[in-house]
């Protein structure tokens, strides 16, 4: 009798873990977005999450945990229970630039997460105020070098995408403009449109309507091909600065230790969302770039994160900036 009981217990014990993964998800999933609601990462997460919820059969509830360039939210996500009911959206800043900018970072982007997959990326544009004399990238480079003492550049705060990408641009061009810090994209864009600052690098989502309306001018987009949302803006390669290739990628992660079957289910749901026509259209309308099939696996994301950390660390450490 006891042997039967032990055998039964063993069977239940074995299937318990499996049963969880089999039935996952049985309740809503929290997706932590480490930025304020309304921003590009938040919008991408909500668009993709809406379709993922259909595939998984449970709601995906977005929780915005903003602060410290996104690292507050990611820290909370990394320390969450790895049962698949907490996932997070990281991006180029939180999982690429953060180790260089935050000396007391409480997570390691390459070790503390189970990568789920890349969601949409948003290409970076070099934009300037309407009144700035140069009309294309070549003229801008010449102008920036000649006017190094007076040219200034806006960014949305140390640790933001606009900061890290323009830092790369400045180091490639060999210029040191006055970097003016703003609290967020809204104020920085506002002053660019108002002509108070000279230039900025930011994600296409934030800039596309302003460029179309002509209130700011775009010099180049840092992508291999032109964006369908802005067909008149040349790529950095066409415009003469082929080294400047950046994209503010967004990706989904789960905390380390989340069971492999659950991560696989999430990856599958993400993959289906990125194939769905409505979701694709909304992302493309924003100017987003959707990864192809190869780029959607967790393994690809893991390697990509490692490469990004290696890429950004030397550039940002050279500036001596500390993230806020």
């Amino acid at each position: 009798m006891t042997r039967v009981l032990i055998a039964l217990a063993a069977v239940f014990g074995l299937t318990a873990g499996g049963a969880d993964a089999q039935n996952y998800p049985t309740r809503p999933i929290t997706a932590i977005v480490p930025f304020a609601a309304g921003g590009p990462t938040d919008v991408v997460t909500r668009i993709v999450g809406e379709h993922m919820a259909k595939t998984l059969g449970q709601q995906i509830v977005v929780e915005n945990v903003a602060g410290a360039g996104g690292t507050t939210g990611i820290t909370r996500g990394a320390q969450a229970k790895p049962d698949g009911y907490t996932i997070m959206t990281g991006h180029m800043g939180t999982h690429g630039a953060a180790p260089a900018l935050y000396p007391n970072l409480k997570y390691d982007p390459t070790k503390d997460f189970e990568p789920i997959g890349l969601a949409a990326g948003t290409p970076i544009l070099i934009v300037a105020k309407k009144a700035l004399p140069p009309n294309n990238l070549k003229e801008f480079v010449a102008y920036a070098k000649a006017n190094e003492k007076t040219i200034n550049q806006a960014h949305a705060g140390v640790g933001s995408v606009s900061f890290t990408t323009c830092t790369l641009l400045n180091s490639q061009l060999g210029i040191k403009p006055a970097q003016v810090a703003y609290r967020g994209t809204g104020p920085s864009l506002n002053d660019l449109v108002g002509g108070q600052v000279d230039f900025m690098c930011d994600q296409i989502v934030n800039l596309v309507e302003q460029i179309k309306a002509g209130s700011i001018k775009a010099y180049a987009i840092a992508m291999p091909e032109r964006s369908p949302a802005l067909p008149d803006v040349p790529t950095t390669t066409e415009a003469g600065l082929p080294d400047f290739q950046v994209s503010a990628w967004n990706a989904m992660f789960a905390p380390k230790g989340t069971p492999r079957e659950i991560v696989a289910k999430l990856n599958d749901a993400l993959d289906k969302a990125l194939d769905d026509a409505t979701t694709r259209k909304r992302l493309l309308d924003l100017g987003g770039v959707i990864p192809d099939k190869n780029g959607r696996t967790g393994a690809y994301l893991a390697d990509f994160v490692k490469a990004e950390v290696a890429r950004w660390t030397p550039i940002l450490k050279a500036t001596g900036a500390v993230g806020n």
Binding site: G38, V43, A68, A181, N190, E209, K212, V322, N324
Partner: protein
């Protein structure tokens, strides 16, 4: 002109659909409740309700979310008047005279004045947005960091005038507020300042935490100390609505408040928060008997309330005409619009006219609904004041704690509120006023940020504040106001010296 009328007609046709009317009503109702509950703010609510709007078309979704936003402004004034707890930064000034009126048994009048003044301001603001939206945006774009800094300095000058008692004490409170606003991470370098190594302070002190502590908790401590004064409030209810004479007294303040608040609301980055303070200062200066202010002057409620509602509505202008959100709530709206496929930008007015004009029309409808919702509720709120205090204050405490906790899911926030509550009680005992401190706190962040941005842009030249004409003009006005405020105090002490 016909264009405007035609567009308004389109707007009202859109806004009057059954779906949109219902969404507007829901938004306003939820917004009012959120505003009344201390702590929980429109940002958290809009973020939570955002997914619900996915099933609806963009216009309907935005109408509802906008309703939550200005509904919260109405609700925030209610708590400010009844229990001396400002729901939003813009309701701080309402506590000064509004709560005094409540203590005198005139709570109904105060609430009614606030509602009517807000409705008038909202109507005028809607017209301004419709007719002058685009040109006004150009005005806002003139404001660079240097001009903003001078404007904030002007705001601090208002704070000195705000004070009831000693000017010196008011100035010291403003400075304390400024210091408190520096707690947290530095914008340019990321260094921690005044955080004492506490992780919870690295994002700075939250306004709600400070306001709830200094006003709410401290008030409870004060009332527990002297139970007799509390009973006076319970005694008389008095009129429920303002009388005709009351309303006539308010006409001037309301009109002035609407213009000030409306203009300041256009400025990006929370320029709207200055509106109520500026209005209060103006009314105090213009009044025949300034000593009434701070003791229950109805103008002290009417003016600031119009200013804050006008500012809340005109804050939509940069969003709708430029596509650039002026504050955190508008940034949320941007997100909502983007998710619905309407990417905000300068061309929204022409590319999605039903959205643009529908929103404008529904703003006015929302204001009307809020008036209709709030006026009957006044009777309910006033009756609430009759509840024995020993039952009320634990409830207030509980709601405050829940509200504070809901901001960041952080228990440390509640502890900080308690700390500020004790500090606020201490301030009261030593006869210091908290309102200037709150103003200093609110303006401090902007003041410092704009100061440093201006200096980076000018490559370190302090002359930039005087070289730029708008900035220089604002600085001169600020100087004048400070002189005018300080002069009577100097004159009084000279008289005292002569008498001796």
């Amino acid at each position: 002109m016909e264009d405007l009328l035609g567009n308004l007609a389109l707007g009202f046709a859109t806004a009057f659909s059954v779906q949109n009317l219902l969404l507007c009503f829901i938004g306003c109702l939820v917004g009012t409740l959120i505003g009344v509950l201390p702590g929980v703010g429109p940002i958290a609510t809009i973020a939570m309700l955002l997914p619900l709007t996915f099933k609806v078309d963009p216009t309907g979704a935005l109408i509802m979310l906008a309703g939550i936003y200005y509904g919260a402004q109405y609700g925030g004034s209610t708590t400010a008047i009844l229990v001396n707890i400002p729901g939003e930064a813009t309701s701080v000034v309402t506590t000064l005279d509004g709560h005094q009126m409540a203590r005198q048994g005139r709570a109904g009048i105060a609430l009614g004045t606030a509602a009517i003044a807000s409705f008038f301001a909202g109507t005028v603001a809607t017209v301004i947005i419709a007719a002058l939206g685009a040109p006004l945006t150009k005005l806002a774009l003139l404001f660079g960091p240097a001009e903003y800094f001078s404007l904030m300095l002007l705001g601090l000058a208002f704070a000195v005038v705000l004070a009831r008692g000693s000017v010196l004490k008011a100035v010291s409170m403003i400075v304390v507020g400024l210091l408190l606003s520096t707690v947290g991470l530095d914008l340019e370098t990321g260094e921690e300042r005044l955080t004492f190594g506490l992780q919870d302070l690295s994002d700075g002190v939250d306004f709600a935490v400070l306001a709830m502590g200094i006003f709410g908790f401290a008030e409870i401590l004060r009332n527990l100390e002297s139970p007799e004064t509390r009973d006076v409030v319970r005694g008389t209810i008095g009129r429920l609505l303002p009388s005709a004479t009351d309303l006539k007294q308010c006409v001037g303040p309301v009109v002035r408040g609407t213009s000030i608040g409306g203009l300041l609301g256009i400025l990006p980055g929370n320029g709207a928060v200055l509106g109520p303070f500026a209005s209060y200062t103006l009314e105090k200066k213009l009044a025949r008997d300034p000593s009434r202010f701070g003791r229950g002057a109805i103008e002290g409620v009417a003016g600031p309330e119009s200013a804050n509602n006008a500012g809340a509505q005109t804050a939509f202008i940069p969003l709708l005409t430029l596509g650039i959100p002026p504050n955190a709530v508008m940034a949320l709206m941007v997100g909502a619009m983007t998710i619905h496929g309407v990417i905000p930008g300068p061309q929204v007015m022409t590319k999605s006219p039903t959205l643009f004009w529908g929103m404008i029309a529904s703003m006015w409808i929302g204001n009307l609904m809020l008036l209709i919702i709030n006026l009957p509720l006044i009777g309910l709120w006033v009756r609430l004041l009759k509840v024995p205090y020993r039952l009320m204050f634990p409830t207030i405490l509980l709601f405050c704690c829940i509200g504070i906790y809901s901001i960041n899911n952080n228990p440390a926030d509640v502890l900080f509120t308690a700390f500020f509550g004790l500090a606020g009680y201490g301030l009261y005992k030593f006869d210091f006023e908290p309102a200037p401190m709150l103003l200093g706190f609110v303006l401090g962040k902007l003041l410092e940020e704009k100061f440093r941005q201006a200096l980076v842009l000018s490559r370190g030249s302090f002359m930039t504040f005087v070289e730029r004409p708008v900035s220089a003009g604002l600085l001169i006005i600020a100087l004048l106001i400070m002189v005018v405020a300080v002069l009577p105090a100097i004159r009084k002490s000279r008289e005292q010296a002569f008498q001796e």
